[in-house]
Point group: C2
Chain length 215, copies 2
């Protein structure tokens, strides 16, 4: 059965999934990249970058698991790029260059319509203006038997969690403090929404956590 998943979502001890002052220069906010140090060292990440090497231990197992069996992605608009308001033109094509790391249909939540954008390597960005459930339906249709992965950012994941649309969520809790930015847990009562921790695996770089929705 096809699932709706979040994977490799990194948060600080104090719950921040991005640092403050996100910008073109700092897409993850100030100090945001520190959240992903566990990931950047893995073989999975290196492979995604066309590089060799990288770690193959527990961190990599979680990273790898996150990339398996995905038929479609959903991204919030701020994760797609820094442009706000109506699209001034078609020039912004995401943070990832000509060949984004998705390789499947990828649905971008936005209030402003835009034509689909076909990239190299199988990624096509579709811009969805009629809300999270419409985006999810289109992603499910595109994914077929495979899973839908919600990439982020924080506000998008929070919306899908509140609507109880996410089946499982892998968090990587990092041993650092950010203090401000985008807080995953703020205003969310996850147990009340039916989520509980069903798996955990500590490594030297992160505490990996699997949250599942009870049916």
């Amino acid at each position: 059965m096809s699932k709706v998943r979040v994977n490799s979502f990194s948060v600080s001890l104090d719950g921040y999934a991005a640092g403050p002052n996100q910008s073109v220069q700092n897409p993850l906010g100030i100090r945001g990249p520190e959240l992903f140090q566990w990931f950047f060292s893995t073989r999975t990440w290196k492979y995604m970058q066309g590089q060799e090497g990288g770690s193959s231990g527990v961190d990599n197992q979680w990273a790898e698991r996150g990339m398996e069996n995905i038929g479609a992605w959903i991204l919030g608009r701020n994760m797609f790029g820094p442009v706000r308001g109506p699209w001034p033109d078609e020039s912004w094509k995401g943070w990832w260059g000509d060949e984004p790391p998705y390789h499947v249909p990828t649905f971008v939540l936005t209030h402003h319509p835009r034509q689909p954008l076909e990239m190299k390597g199988g990624t096509t960005f579709h811009f969805v203006t009629d809300g999270i459930d419409a985006a999810l339906q289109r992603a499910r249709d595109a994914a077929g038997d495979k899973d839908v992965r919600i990439g982020g950012g924080t506000a998008t994941i929070q919306q899908y969690l509140r609507a109880r649309r996410i089946d499982e969520l892998h968090l990587a809790v990092r041993p650092l403090l950010l203090g401000s930015g985008e807080n995953l847990f703020a205003g969310l009562d996850l147990p009340a929404l039916g989520y509980r921790c069903t798996e955990h695996a500590p490594t030297d770089s992160a505490l990996h956590i699997l949250l599942k929705k009870e049916t």
Copy 2:
């Protein structure tokens, strides 16, 4: 040099240090005791309870470290007991029976004066009505060369963190969600207050974290 410390302070993934609905029956709130499972299994805890056995690994090392070299404790009133407002009488003597686990002078923050309360085993509760700095000064004087440990609860630790009075804080982050209750991180920007994570040790039961104030 004498330090002001917090130790073995357990928080959920979503930052809660106590569950909701604290009461005489549930001093740690609903599901609060799950936060302390890592601690209840240690030799240090068993010893404090007059029992034998218990684990002696990394969890116990952190628990043990928390009990070393303490010359005085500070507790918030809600950690001392469920009584609110003026003390109706002298009958409430804490949660811990005749012989509390402190064994040194212990300063209780309250707005309502009360005579000192001498218990068995070296614990004397002193009730301090003139604020957190007055309590800290009295605790420092009582502790001499030893450290002052702030026991909690969450609101008390938050106040001392905001005032930058805490030198180091050991958190045990537990792989579970509480969703509501007393949140340690809410409204606190710890890096802005000068705190950073200087040590971390994952075990199967908790991610142990040491936060230190940069001088």
